[in-house]
Symmetry: C2
Subunit: 513 residues, 2 copies
């Protein structure tokens, strides 16, 4: 069994924490693991590290590597931070929704990993919360069994509120395990349903997925209908009827099954599956921009729903975040330097600043270096309007944070004025920036931590803590950290123009830097 | 007539904008005039600049001068920013409430300005809003006339809400102008009450102070009783009865009157009035810590209340600020870079950061570089609890802003780390810092604007834009701006200790710097 983690999304519904250059899957709330890290941890309970493939794009690649490497550094599994134990990283050349991404992942499995058609692939978003992880691991194993029967397994979540932001899936009231299998060209006869316990039929004990404890292996269902996003009334009706589920965005299927289903329902994608992996990448922007749900799942006759009896949250808004986190006795969640007086049922996240609240109820407060969001709970779908407005106005607050992560480290703009800009630049051990020059600015570098190897013109020098160098405009230069601890410099730029785009790269340290 | 502006208060009820090192009277909301500047503007309508005295302390002196000079620079009255047209500035050596401050002001008037006993002194707080200013000017003139009769004039504000944070003054229902004057040793017989209009008796047309238009000269009243801060029920009762006022904190009296009243009711203060001005300053900390209200006004038989029929606001809380400022059609006040969605009756002040609100009602949001306040309207008296907590924890957010103003200019900490600190330092034209040295840090200075004259050891050099100098630890140095535009430098400090207190001053540029 392989797993494909989809980590190329650029969602900004958690703005101002998530931004286009730093989307949701990489967020580390309260300094803890990112959603991507938690996703990998869950999968690693049943799938080995070599069988996990991460799909992302070149812009996010180093975030993915940083997150995954840190996980393993913490576990002392590897010692070299430049070597990732996650060897299988695919870069989408452009973003084309889930169906093309999954097709590319399939091609990778077949061509690069030598997967056969009866190998099961588990598809996982990278930015959801699912717990407990052990129980989820059991469901992954169960989904493999079901997938081996030729089914395309989707994972259903029992609705807990009349959510209007999701589509609902109506399922047959009869367990799919009791019906005849669909024809398939794979051997799955070794899978038997002898775990079927007549004492625990579907819909017993509080309805599907509502039973506690042990997972019932035949508790999966054929789909009656995929619905559009309902209004509140309709959503309530669905919940009342009991056989409606939210689609969690996860899937499990044999590689052979999905290839057949692409061929049947998505001929354009199927056609490209005939190419080699490299050709697929080269032609990726020809792919239709379509989700696996629309392209295949809603049309396939082989789809079954496996209801998950556990906590699931797609973290689609700050309201979801409030829902998922532990609250204190007053219903507050406080992260950072916060004093709350007469405040209840409120989420307060502050990165650095001291935040004081008085007399608030049901609010969501998210403070970052350059942008602050204060919203009433239940209204956070409107964050989208704010991000759209920032984009229309071409403002960087929609795009990036004050600290910008690069493959070699990071930089933070500390201050700007007419004709000057001040940055703190951190270069990771053994990393270097490109050889570059600026037409309109000169730079003063003061080393405040570590040791820098600096190239200016033809000269190479080492600059130590509390030493400075000057780089005149139009002079080739390079900053490098030859050491084993992070290098930190303060850069004071001076000139008639200090925009980021005044940079001419003579060599290219990272293929894009 | 003289006016004494009391500008030594250190109130933090408008935290996080007001802090101990930058109190309310200096706040410039939305970049407009400070409350002190507006106070001076109002008084200048009837009192000449040479007759205005400002009482403050050494810590706030340069804020006072900066505010007042800017006013006059704007009006092109003076051209040298180092010369203040406000020549009469008294520095309290310690803070001792209003009665001692006023006694010191009296002594200044008599000894330094040669005032006689029949000269009227008008006492004004520096941090209130009063409008319209022209009408207020008429009241100042009227109060001079009444004071000349031997009265101590307090200014009453008709209560507009059942405020429990103020004391109330109950006045006699009979105009004081109709009663016999109190004995006094001053000539005031030239003041007649022939403007008394029988068609406009006190309490006609909506009660005292509620009449529109012209100011009625005999409309002032003897006091029945000073009350303690009431509960809401009592406050409502007072408002219903119509002859209760808030005390605005302003007074007008002849110098002879107040000297007599100090003698009668505050013997300790009166005793010190026998000293010279310099002796009073030297012994100022012996003064009782008491307000003029408690020391004299509540006991004096010569006190009368002049009701003011105009807008008054003591800016005692963020709720008061909401009250005083112009709102848009949704009841919002937005200052700074703000987007408000489905938000109403809310005040949003942001210095730099982008602020987005969604679905808020009746909130007060005040964002600064290092601290953020979000409070429900009506609850902002609790700001005090936050400031107290910050003080208990010995935190700088109660004391000072990220940008710290000094007599020579300002500095802003842009960033800090282990063993280093980065500052932006602005030196005003023709100003200089003390000659100093540091034991534990060296400094790199990069000039980003203007021209610096730098002394390092025995060497004096000029450092131009885009040039840098290095100051080793234990080396005497001085920074000076010899030019006519502000000098701006970026200072990178490096060393085993980078606290502000590692400074040895060899000379003292400003008596305290």
């Amino acid at each position: 069994m392989k797993a494909l983690i989809l980590a190329g999304g650029s969602g900004t519904r958690l703005w101002p924490l998530s931004r286009r250059n730093y989307p949701k899957q990489f967020l580390k709330l309260n300094g803890k693991s990112s959603f991507l890290q938690k996703t990998a941890e869950r999968l690693l309970k049943v799938i080995s590290i070599d069988d996990i493939i991460v799909m992302t794009n070149s812009e996010y690649k180093f975030h993915v590597l940083a997150d995954l490497n840190v996980m393993f550094n913490n576990q002392h599994l590897i010692s070299n931070p430049n070597h990732s134990p996650f060897a299988n990283i695919i870069l989408e050349p452009v973003s084309r929704n889930t169906a093309p991404a999954i097709a590319l992942g399939i091609k990778y499995c077949v061509e690069k990993l030598g997967c056969k058609k009866d190998e099961v692939l588990f598809i996982s978003p990278s930015d959801h919360v699912i717990k407990p992880a052990d129980k989820f691991a059991e469901y992954i194993k169960l989904s493999e069994e079901i997938a081996k029967k030729g089914y395309m397994v989707a994972f259903g979540i029992k609705p807990t509120r009349s959510e209007t932001g999701y589509g609902y899936i109506q399922v047959s009231k009869e367990s799919a395990a009791d019906s005849k299998h669909h024809g398939t060209n794979m051997e799955h006869d070794n899978i038997t349903d002898n775990e079927n316990n007549p004492l625990l039929p579907p819909f017993s004990k509080g309805g599907m997925g509502g039973f506690p404890g042990e997972i019932v292996k035949n508790n999966y269902f054929k789909v009656e209908e995929f619905t559009e996003k309902p209004d509140t009334e309709t959503a309530k009706k669905y919940i009342g009827e009991g056989n409606y589920y939210w689609n969690s965005g996860m899937f499990a299927f044999c590689i052979g099954t999905i290839i057949e289903e692409f061929s049947k329902h998505a001929p354009k994608i199927s056609e490209m599956l005939d190419m080699s992996f490299d050709e697929m990448v080269a032609n990726f922007k020809q792919m239709p921009d379509i989700s696996l749900d629309y392209a295949v799942a809603e049309k396939s006759e082989r789809i079954v729903i496996l209801p998950l009896d556990l906590y699931w949250n797609d973290i689609g808004s700050w309201d979801s975040i409030y829902d998922v986190l532990d609250k204190n006795g007053r219903g507050n969640i406080k992260m950072g330097d916060v004093v709350a007086i007469d405040t209840k049922d409120t989420l307060i996240i502050s990165d650095k600043r001291f935040v004081a609240t008085i007399g608030l109820d049901d609010c969501l407060i998210v403070d970052t270096d350059d942008a602050l969001l204060i919203a009433k709970r239940g209204e956070t779908q409107k964050v989208r309007e704010i991000v759209n407005k920032l984009r229309e106005d071409d403002r960087k607050e929609a795009l990036e944070h004050v600290t910008i992560y690069r493959p070699w480290g990071s930089y933070t703009v500390l201050g700007e004025g007419e004709r000057y800009k001040i940055k703190r630049v951190v270069v990771n051990p053994r990393e270097r920036l490109s050889l570059q020059l600026h037409h309109h600015r000169s730079e003063h570098w003061v080393v405040v931590k570590g040791k820098a190897k600096v190239t200016i013109g033809d000269r190479e020098t080492f600059v130590h803590e509390n030493e400075s160098v000057y780089i005149p405009e139009l002079t080739r230069h390079r900053l490098e950290n030859p050491g084993k601890v992070p290098l930190e410099i303060i850069e004071v730029q001076n000139g008639e123009y200090v925009g980021e785009d005044d940079i001419e790269r003579i060599d290219d340290a990272y293929g894009r830097e």
